[in-house]
Structures are given as C-alpha cells and as structure tokens.
Amino acid sequence: MAHAKIIIIGSGPAGYTAGIYAARANLKPVLFAGDKPGGQLMNTTLVENWPGTEAGVMGPELMMEMRNQAAKFGAEIIDKKVTKVDFSGELKKVLVDDELYEAETIIVATGAASIMLGVPGEKEFFGKGVATCAVCDAPFYRDKIAMVIGGGDAAIEDAMALTKFASKIYLVHRRDELRASKFMVDRVMNAEKVEILWDSELKKVLGNKLVEKVEIYNNKTDKTQEIETSGVFLAVGHKPATEIFKDYLELDKKGFIQTKLTYPGATTTSVDGVFAAGDVVDYRYKQAITSAGMGCQAALDAERWLDQK
C-alpha cells in the first residue's frame, strides 16, 4: 500500500495544473493519468485560444508540456486508471485494480468522455468506420463519404476537419438548428462538401468488415432512409466521468460533481478533503483555460485544507 499527501485523479488541463501547483507546494502529489493521458485535448490539432501563444499551440503538445512541467516539479505521474475509490474514512482510498493507495486529500479531475449513442452496429464497427476523433482519423476518408453526428462546436470542427479529405460529409443533427457558436455555424454553412441533415437521428450502423451505410431516421417526417457512408463520427457531446465517485460525492442530475462556490474553497465537494476541477464539474464553460484555472484552485484549496487540518 502506498501513502500520499495528495492524489490527483485525471490528466487534462485541470489535473496537470493541479499537479504543477501541488508539486511546487512540495506536497509530492501522485497523479493518476488514466488510460487516456492528456484527456480530450489529445484529440485536437491547433488550439488558438490558449493565452500566451499567438501562433496557437497543438493540443497534444500543450498536454505533453503540462505533463513534463508537473513531473519537473516532482509530481509522480502514473499512467493507470483508477478503478475504485473509498472516501468514507479519514484517509481516502484509491484502488487501481488490486493496488491500494491512500491519501489525506484527493483532487478529482477525471474530465468527460464522448457520449456513445448505443445504436446497433456502433460498438461492432468502432475503429472500423465508427470513431470519435475526426482529427486523428480524417485522412482515412480521402475521397470517401463520411458522416458526423451532432450539432455543437465539436461536431462542426469534426466536419471541417473531414472536408480536407472526404468527398462529401453529412452532418446529422436531431434538431432544426445547430447549437454551435455563430462563427462555427457560418463556417459549416459555407462549406461546399457538407450537407446538413436536419431533424435526423442515427438509428443503425451497417456494413460487412467496415462501415458501408447507416440508417437515418427523420423525426419530423417519421421516415427512415439508408445512406451510404464509410465513416460515422460521433460528436453528440461528453458526459462527466464520475461513475466511480457516485457512492461518495454529490452529483447533479447529469452526473457532474457538485462543488461549493463559496468558502471554504470553490472546488470543495460534498466530502471533506475531496476537491474537484475541470470538465467533471463544469457543464458551462468547458475550456482548456477554465479547466487549468480550476485545477490551480483545487490545488490551492487542497493545500490550505492540509494546512488547517
């Protein structure tokens, strides 16, 4: 069994920033980076709104830098996924399969994961035409037809990434207007290769070894049609990764961790000594910079909590 003053669970901007601050406070944090180290930004290309980088910065590079920075100051980074926690005692328990770790305080920064639709064929063809990272996989769709499901900024970014390679892109959205920002909507509306299928829902993914076609249901006309496509990119949103915390931490209806915005600290959860930061808490802003900011707050809140204990 290993003992730490502070354990950070998560490796996005919130987790790594908490790691940098906690390490610099000489708390020797142990950071579990999980099975997708670096988080959602690993699936992006150029990030143009990270302050201090006029030319932009590549998402994966930004995350590698944050990781190295946390390690430089003494954070112990473990690329393992926490499978279970127990926050009932004074010492908080964190389990990685059978390995037990204990800490005085915990920062939860597990972020959010892509929502899967659960339609037939989705699982079977995952990685064989069904995907969640258009930036990674767009080049496989050179001169092919691809499809993006969703209506937010992420869906449009995916569609735009595909325009560089695919011959045609369907954007399938279940409503009659996009919820993306105006800037992004204008972009996709002007993209020649993109056809938007309004009021439409993915019902089935079909194919042999790879995806060949899909069934699309129109919720206004109540009709279902088959459409040929080689790729189905899911961008319907993210859900907070809070499954392992639900017995201990207060969550809202959608599964986000509830924190207190007032004293004793913005990142305080319903359990004394457990703090939370980033997309696992934030249903409103969801930016790299707000997550990093919250990670900093969590580390400072945890540090003060340890001091006052």
């Binding site: 099975d35 393992k80 995907a131 790879l210 080689s230």
Partner: protein, 115 residues
C-alpha cells in the same frame, strides 16, 4: 548503468515492403503492430510505451510500428480506419486488436495474452 551500456531498444519501423515478411518471420514469433501517424495525439502518448515494450519482449514477440501516412494501403488492407490501432499477428493471421491507446497496462495485457 551508463547510456552506452544500455541495450539498443525501440520498436521496428515497418514499411509496405517488409510488412508481410515480418508477419511470417522465420522464427515464428508473434508480431505486435502499432498503426500510428505523426498527427495523432494519442499515438504520441503510445510511442514511448511501444518502444519500451519492444526492449522488454524482444525474444518473445516482434514489437513493430507502421506509419499509416505513407503506408496507407497496408492500413486499408487490414481495415484500420482509426488510430492508434494495435494488432497482434500469429503466423501472418490477426489474433487480437485494440483500438485507441489503452495505456501501458492495456498493451501489456494484450501482449501477455498472446505469447
């Protein structure tokens, strides 16, 4: 131990030309192939792990990489449409596949399960 004394490690980079011959290698070793590209973030995380495992398993399995950028036809032939994808081959036949980077432990489990 100084750098000089350490054994040269790192995964073999395969190309379209030597892909099939590696799969059907004379030693009859299973082959682990990491399909990757430079532009893919999760692939970058996986790269040093794959190199590390190559050193560890060198007598038991050939640990190799294929840059899909430039060897697209191999990726297409094996139905790789998403990266990173790791496939283990035995006697030239696919026996296991993992889509996405499952972390070091994930790769270890996959390899150990196919020795």
């Amino acid at each position: 131990m100084s750098e000089d004394n350490q054994k040269q490690t790192g995964a073999v980079h395969l190309t379209t030309d030597d892909f099939k011959t590696t799969l059907n290698n004379e030693e009859g070793l299973p082959v682990f192939v990491d399909f990757f590209a430079e532009w893919c973030g999760p692939c970058k995380m996986a790269a040093p792990i794959v190199d590390k495992l190559a050193g560890e398993y060198e007598d038991k399995m050939i640990i190799a990489k294929l840059d899909v950028d430039g060897h697209n036809q191999i990726a297409a032939e094996y139905g790789v449409m998403s990266i990173p994808t790791a496939i283990i081959f035995k006697d030239g036949e696919e026996v296991d596949r993992t889509i996405g980077f499952p972390g070091e432990d994930g790769f270890r489990k996959m390899i150990d399960g196919n020795l």
